[in-house]
């Protein structure tokens, strides 16, 4: 069942690089990451690649396979024809460090800019009471393995470095939605979603949902409801009036 597969892997670093062709053994039942590992062990011992669990649970081995953002450990070789060239390139939205490894620090920066969970001040540990139906909405978003494929595919930042400062990307807008829907979170999330994290940039093309390996409905369940909450408040006549009066008083 073994055959010689044709691979084209991007090799290089921040200075530049290009696609390099390899012929490498492929065995029955393997995934792209197995073949990349065989390349390392036999022909390219210094090929840089990030990976960890190899079971789709840690979100480390993100790359673009024939142009599609995917986890290499969940991409089976039998989805390709034996004579098909498999092209593996690093995620395009983030700066390349080396070969398939990119600098994803943008994501960690954005994570830091979202104020942490804020429980009610007088609630003691052990006294938290929440209903299953109420935690389920946020639980869906907490399935996120932080592979950053949604960030990679999002056109707002994919070829627009200039938007990175004002846009946090689907992963972190979803994190804000998660906190906003947390039954016990006491902080105001809606204003910051729009003003600090660029929720308005999102025009719900659902590309993020399509590439999510955890099948989280990012657009439908996090981003759209968050947009609705922002709009509800912004155009709520009573809130509007309240803001006017307060501003006048000040």
């Amino acid at each position: 069942m073994s055959y010689k597969g044709k691979f084209r892997v991007w090799r290089g670093d921040s200075e530049g690089g290009d696609l390099k062709d390899y012929e490498v053994e492929v065995n029955e039942g393997e995934v792209v990451l197995d073949v990349i590992h065989r390349l390392q062990a036999t022909q390219a011992p210094d090929l840089a690649v990030r990976w960890n669990c190899k079971a789709g649970k840690c979100g480390s081995c993100s790359a673009e396979i024939n142009g599609m953002p995917k986890l290499m450990c969940m991409c089976r070789m039998n989805t390709f024809e034996e004579d098909e060239v498999v092209t593996v390139t690093p995620m395009r939205t983030f700066p390349v460090m080396r070969d398939l490894v990119t600098d994803v620090s943008y994501n960690y920066q954005k994570a830091r800019e979202i104020p942490a969970f804020t429980p009610p001040a007088d609630l003691k540990p052990g006294e938290y009471r929440m209903q299953q139906v109420d935690v389920e909405r946020s639980q869906e978003f907490r399935k996120c393995i932080e592979c950053f494929l949604c960030q990679d595919t999002c056109h707002v930042i994919r070829d627009h470095e200039e938007n990175k400062e004002s846009f946090s990307g689907p992963r972190f807008l979803m994190r804000i939605a998660e906190l906003d829907m947390h039954p016990l979170d006491a902080a105001d999330r809606q204003h910051e979603a729009q003003e600090q994290h660029g929720l308005g940039f999102c025009n719900i093309t659902k590309c993020c949902t399509e590439v999510c390996p955890e099948h989280i409905k990012i657009t439908d369940n996090a981003l759209i409801p968050m947009k609705e909450r922002v709009v509800d408040r912004k155009y709520d006549p009573i809130v509007w009036l309240g803001n006017k009066i307060r501003r006048r008083g000040a």
């Binding site: 197995d34 210094d46 079971a55 840690c58 969970f117 009471r129 907490r142 906190l179 947390h182």
Partner: protein, 626 residues
């Protein structure tokens, strides 16, 4: 003089899984400047792989549960070899540690009255595991990660710098601990990206590096599990205990090769799945040991009735303890009755309707569908034992988590003693939280006691550590580290695996001696920037040291207990229960194993057990006077 970047901290935590993050949170909250150093990106540690849950006697699902019951279950699970003080602290403190996670933002599954739901698991008397579906580990690590971020936000408010008091050094590997006299003075390592060296000047180091599974061919562990903390501790003069005890989970995937070793949850059997050999026979009925004979069904009919009527029927033998099932599968395969890919069949497709399977076992259905092209609602799975967890680790003081080396602490899987000879499912996540916090506290207290008398780093030690790290680049024409690693894994799997024999372990030790020579002469190609060959070469030294500990300790222990099965000594022996095997390094880098008496259990803890039960484990002299 070696060129490197230098940083000064009060506490350096190595490892960013559950134990490391919890330790760092504690040290920072105690006012200590803390660094976390980890081999992967922040948030990717092996803790994400934990599925079942976190054991804590909160009594939400059954109000009869309390720490004493949890303590008893843990000691029984470890066949009484556990460090009883650790098991006591663990059972007492686990509920507070879980409730604390809710204040950090964790969202566990709920009971109907809104509290944290708890599930049943092997060896636990009552439903005890706090969980989030089958992704509890991910919830735990993300929650701790977000707590770290919130502490950094506090520091930002106060100082304008997120990283003023707590910084994560991700994709950075520590290769050596440094000492001033007897005490820890710092840690030396390199950035995986650039290969540049980095030095941490710190009087306290917490090891939280996890396990050693990558020394075995078939494992559920990731590449990070190369025994780094175990080996670093030994090179710094600390001791390891219980290294002969390795948990092999009976059901790992065996096909396709890419996922060999990945876990198949115990719930498959709990929900009715049965094990069959290539002849279609439910072989587990042949493997019920005498001590369990009374509790397990003798016919398939009786076993099948148990699922609906557990009060009037005995349990199916598929639900024997993990070590028994793993050994049975091993025997069937060795006898030539295995599947085409060297496992046995685990079949749930003929036992439950398809929709029931997808409802009860969604992640297993998804895992087999996506990775093996197997529809578990229509066909059997192929499974076999997989190396899962090391019970052994750094010998520590139970209350402070400090090793015998002043300033060196250890928590989580890298620490030894808590689980004795066998860990119960669910006790790992709670272990991380309880002892992660204690290690952070222990380190902070230690730093306070030092005052201004901080150990100093010697320049010569830095140069030596740098030379050691660069050694694989120095030679030419030597072997590729991947080849040696593959052979080491095969040897450990075949010769010090699930069933052990004196003659095979002797052979393993001879092999390990041979690898030692080859590792000293291996070569690495390319340069220092993100070079996986070099990284493996450095990790390989650690795997070799740890493998020697496992093989030498296993050869000495002449009994079978928990995660250590001797073909030539099949029974449990109370005289051996009293003994710990303590591993240390001698001056030429070889592993020494010495015997040490266990500290007798405190009387009030002993009184938690019936005399008849104690008689199964303790020697005549150890039993309480009646």
């Amino acid at each position: 003089m070696t060129e490197l970047e230098r940083h000064s901290y009060d506490v350096v935590v190595i490892g960013a899984g559950g134990a490391g993050l919890r330790a760092a949170i504690e040290a920072r909250e105690q006012g200590k400047r803390t660094a976390i150093v980890c081999k992967s990106l922040f948030g990717k540690a092996h803790t994400v792989m934990a599925e079942g849950g976190c054991a804590a006697a909160m009594g939400n699902a059954n109000s009869n549960d309390n720490w004493q019951v949890h303590y008893r279950d843990t000691m029984r699970g470890g066949k009484f070899l556990n460090n009883w003080r650790m098991a006591e602290l663990h059972a007492q403190e686990a509920p507070d540690r879980v409730w604390e996670l809710e204040t950090y933002g964790a969202l566990f599954d709920r009971t109907p009255d809104g509290r944290i739901s708890q599930r049943n698991f092997g060896g636990h008397t009552y439903p005890r595991l706090a969980h989030v579906g089958d992704r509890t580990g991910l919830e735990l690590i993300r929650t701790l990660q977000q707590k770290i971020v919130s502490l950094q936000q506090e520091d930002f408010q106060a100082t304008g710098d997120y990283e003023a008091n707590l910084k994560v050094y991700a994709e950075c590997t520590v290769t050596e601990l440094l000492k001033d006299g007897d005490a820890i003075s710092g840690a030396f390592g390199y950035w995986r990206e650039s290969g540049r060296f980095i030095l941490f000047d710190a009087p306290a180091v917490v090891l939280a590096t996890g396990g050693v599974g990558k020394s075995f061919k078939v494992t559920s562990n990731s590449w990070e599990y190369t025994g780094d903390g175990h080996a670093l501790a030994m090179r710094a003069g600390a001791t390891l205990i219980n290294m002969e005890f390795i948990q092999f989970h009976p059901t790992g995937m065996v096909w396709p090769p890419s996922v060999k070793g990945i876990l198949v949850t115990e719930s498959v059997r709990g929900d009715g799945g049965v094990l069959k050999n290539s002849e279609g026979k439910r072989f587990m009925f042949e493997y019920v040991p005498d001590v369990f004979r009374a509790q397990y069904a003798e016919t398939e009919d009786e076993a099948d009735r148990w699922y609906k009527d557990p009060d009037n029927n005995r349990r199916p033998p598929e639900l024997l303890p993990r070590d028994e099932v793993a050994r049975a599968i091993n025997s069937e395969v060795k006898a030539g009755r295995g599947t085409p890919h060297g496992g046995v069949f685990l079949d749930v497709s003929t036992r439950l309707p398809a929709e029931e399977i997808t409802r009860r076992l969604p992640s297993m259905h998804h895992q087999f569908k996506e990775l093996a092209d197997v529809d578990i609602t229509a066909e059997p799975m192929e499974v076999g034992p997989t190396c899962h967890y090391v019970m052994g680790g750094v010998e520590v003081d139970p209350d402070t988590a400090q090793s015998v080396v002043p300033g060196l602490f250890a928590a989580g899987e890298v620490a030894g003693g808590m689980h004795g000879s066998n860990r119960l499912g669910g006790n790992s996540l709670s272990d991380l939280l309880v002892f992660g916090r204690r290690a952070g506290m222990g380190a902070a207290t230690y730093v306070d006691q030092l005052g201004s008398e901080r150990p100093k780093i010697a320049e010569a030690d830095i140069d030596a550590a740098a030379a050691e790290a660069l050694a694989p680049f120095e030679l030419e024409g030597g072997e590729n580290p991947y080849t040696i690693h593959t052979e080491l894994q095969q040897s450990m799997n075949d010769l010090v695996g699930i069933i052990r024999k004196e003659e095979e372990m002797e052979r393993a030790l001879a092999k390990l001696a041979e690898y030692r020579g080859r590792i000293a002469k291996m070569t690495v190609e390319g340069h220092r920037q993100f070079n996986p060959g070099w990284h493996l070469a450095l990790d390989l030294r650690n795997m070799l040291t740890v493998s020697e500990c496992v093989a030498k300790a296993a050869l000495q222990r002449q009994e079978s207990r928990g995660g250590h099965t001797r073909d030539d000594f099949p029974g449990m022996n109370a005289d051996w229960r009293k003994l710990l095997l303590v591993c240390s390094l001698d001056t030429d880098g070889g592993v020494n194993v010495v015997r040490k008496d266990q500290i007798p259990m405190r009387d009030d803890l002993l009184e938690l057990f019936e005399l008849d039960e104690l008689k199964k484990y303790l020697t005549e002299e150890e039993l309480p006077a009646t």
